[in-house]
Structures are given as structure tokens and as C-alpha cells.
Symmetry: C2
Subunit: 222 residues, 2 copies
């Protein structure tokens, strides 16, 4: 027995999809490429956005939307890099939804690239398409070797899977090859190993982002 009414859930997702389409129209009309970055707390989403902004802000107009249940520490980190950034505190909600993004999109009408950091977990953001071009799912090796098999749905919808903090793999007793083969079984997404403190993977990531910017109209509907 599910306590939540399935009809209510279906209505909710339908409504989300409608608003996501409006976001999508806005992004296409204004030539904005949008990347939705998902992952558990501590997987490295904010650090990845920081690295991206530092590397690309002189050649691109970048915006960021930072989603969290509470607090503004991510917003503080990103806005001091001198780009347009907005914090969305979801209160009790465990994901961003299209409507929350819709309230903010007009502020980003003049950017080339909008990076959205979703709320930190590998479950709830899965079903909520925001109107983005691409979906990135990050995991840190510190989440355990079995983190991917425990959350198959979010990896199935990913366009890029990042396995992060690989320099800590030995310290936490994790075999990165096994994580990667689990990801390959679930998804045809590209898989990228990363460790930003050790400068591993940033160049490949930036190349991926440049690819997103050069390929137009590659939208995916959730």
C-alpha cells in the first residue's frame, strides 16, 4: 500500500511537465543552455560549479541556481565569483521542480549557460524535468561502492555520470572500476572520473560543457 494517492502524484508530474515546457521555450528563445546537476549531499556539485565558473566566466555569461533545503552557503560561494546566482531554499521539499525554476528564469535571460544545482539526494530529483538540456549525476566514492545500484532510476536518466573524489577511494575501501561497471550496466551515459582537488577530470568536464554549448536543440523531456 502506498499512502500517497497515485492520482495526486500523476497530476503533480503532469503539471510539472507543463511548466518545464514553458522553461524550455524560454531557454530556447534566449539561446540559454541549461545543465541540471544532481547528486547527494557532499558529492561535489558546488565545487564543480565553482571550477566551471572560474574556467569559463571570461568567455561565457554564466548563471547559477542553487537549490538546498535550507542555508545559503552554496550561494555565498558561487555569487562571490561575480556571476548571476540565485538561491532556492525548498524548505521541506527534496528536489527542485519546474515551477521553482520558472519563478527565477527571467533573471537569467542574458546568460549563455545556466547551471542548476539540484537538492542533495539521489532519489527525489529524478522525476522532475526542469526544462534543461542535459542532466548530470555526480557521486562521490565516499558514498560507498554500492551507491549506484541502490539508486538505479537517477542513473538511467543521466546524460553524464561523474564519479568524484576518486583520490579517496582507497581510504574508504571502494573499487572505482566496480562503480563504473555498475553505472555502465544501468546507463548509456558517458562516465567521467573526477577529483577536483587533484585536478583530475576538470578538462574533460569543460570539454563536455563546450559540447553542450555548441550543439543546439538537444533537449530531453522528462
Amino acid at each position: 500500500m502506498h499512502l500517497i494517492d497515485l492520482k495526486v502524484e500523476a497530476d503533480l508530474l503532469l503539471k510539472n511537465k507543463e511548466i518545464a515546457r514553458k522553461n524550455r521555450e524560454f531557454f530556447e528563445k534566449n539561446g540559454i543552455k541549461v545543465v541540471n546537476i544532481m547528486g547527494a549531499i557532499g558529492s561535489g556539485k558546488t565545487t564543480l560549479i565553482e571550477g566551471t565558473v572560474k574556467a569559463l566566466k571570461n568567455s561565457l555569461r554564466i548563471g547559477a541556481i542553487l537549490g538546498d533545503v535550507a542555508g545559503d552557503s552554496d550561494f555565498q560561494r558561487i555569487s562571490k565569483l561575480g556571476i548571476k546566482a540565485v538561491m532556492i531554499n525548498t524548505g521541506k521539499e527534496c528536489h527542485l521542480d519546474a515551477n521553482l525554476i520558472y519563478q527565477e528564469v527571467s533573471k537569467f535571460h542574458d546568460v549563455d549557460l545556466l547551471l542548476i544545482e539540484n537538492v542533495g539526494n539521489l532519489i527525489c530529483p529524478t522525476d522532475f524535468y526542469l526544462g534543461e538540456d542535459l542532466r548530470v549525476v555526480m557521486v562521490s566514492v565516499t558514498e560507498g561502492e554500492d551507491v549506484i545500484e541502490k539508486h538505479p532510476e537517477i542513473f538511467r536518466i543521466a546524460d553524464l555520470i561523474i564519479i568524484n573524489k576518486i583520490s579517496l577511494a582507497d581510504a574508504v575501501g571502494v573499487n572505482v572500476d566496480r562503480m563504473e561497471s555498475c553505472a555502465s550496466r544501468l546507463s548509456r551515459a558517458r562516465i567521467l572520473r573526477m577529483d577536483l582537488k587533484e585536478k583530475v577530470g576538470l578538462e574533460e568536464w569543460l570539454e563536455f560543457i563546450r559540447g553542450v554549448l555548441n550543439v543546439s536543440g538537444n533537449s530531453r523531456e522528462g
Copy 2:
């Protein structure tokens, strides 16, 4: 605007509370002490249950309910220790609820201690009282120094807060004192530093569990 109907949410939580009371009655009638262990993916919940079972299974009858979206790796780890264990796969749900527990409680009628591992995130389990005696919230330093301030609600309802994997604090650039003082501001819960690989904190945890077993009728309603 919230897309989810507030009335639906209130009904859901009310129904959950009713079933949690039935669980509570069952636990009290059978002299079972129940600990609900919450925390993000990789915070160390399963390892803590493993350590507890190994240390106490000769003197206590212990059961475990392991919640995850998918997969049975935690169940495999715990059931091979020779205790009664049940896996609950929630599918798309980001938390256990009282009804999911209610379906399983009769299997545990003869245990002294039931350890429940909730689904891995710091958001959704907050509102769902299961009928437990005590709530434990675990965080790993790898989740970032600001993990506690980003998730105030779950720390407010905790009876014990565990800051885990402290031996990795330097490697991930986290100040454990700052995490602890943030926890103290939010909650009057006892705070325990832990690193099970380094044998830090296990004795204090076992002492806490022995306290739970010796104090009767200390139930908390969510």
C-alpha cells in the same frame, strides 16, 4: 506555490501517525526497543549496525530493518551476521513510513532491540515517525562542513547526532569542531564523534544503546 496539495500532505502525515501508534503499541507490548537510524547515503549507517550486532548479538536478540530505494547489499551484509533482518525497497519513496514498518513488525516479536536503517537522505525521513524509541542522525565529514546547517529539521528531531568518518576530516578540508557547534545550536541531542575504521566512538555508542535498553517507556511521538 507548492505543487503538492497541503491537505493531502496533512492527511498523509496523520495516517502515518496513527499507524506509528500501532507500531508503538506492538513494540511496548513485546518489550522491544527501537532505534531509527537516519543519514545520507554513505554516512555509515550499515557499518554502524554491523558493529552493533557484532558487539551485542551474544547478549541480546537483535533485529534489523534495512530501507533502501533499490538493491539488497545492506541486507546481505547484515543478514550474514546471523540475526533476523528484513530489506524494504521503497521504489521511488525517499523514506520509510509507519505502514512499511507495520507490514514487518510481527517478524520481530521476539527481539530485544530493533535497528531500523532509514532510506539515505537528510530530508524525507524527518516527518515520518515510525513508532521508534529513539532517533539517531548520522553525518559523515565527507558530506561537507555545512551539511548540518543545510538540513536543520532532521537535526532538531534527533536524540543522538553522530559525526562520522572523522579521520577523513583533513583530507576533505572539514573542521569537525565547527560541525559540532552547528549541531549544538540546532539541537539538544547528544553529539558523538565516530570513526569505526579507527575504532573511535563505538564504545560510547554501545553505552548509548545499553541506556536505551534499560530505560523503558521513553517513547517520542513525531
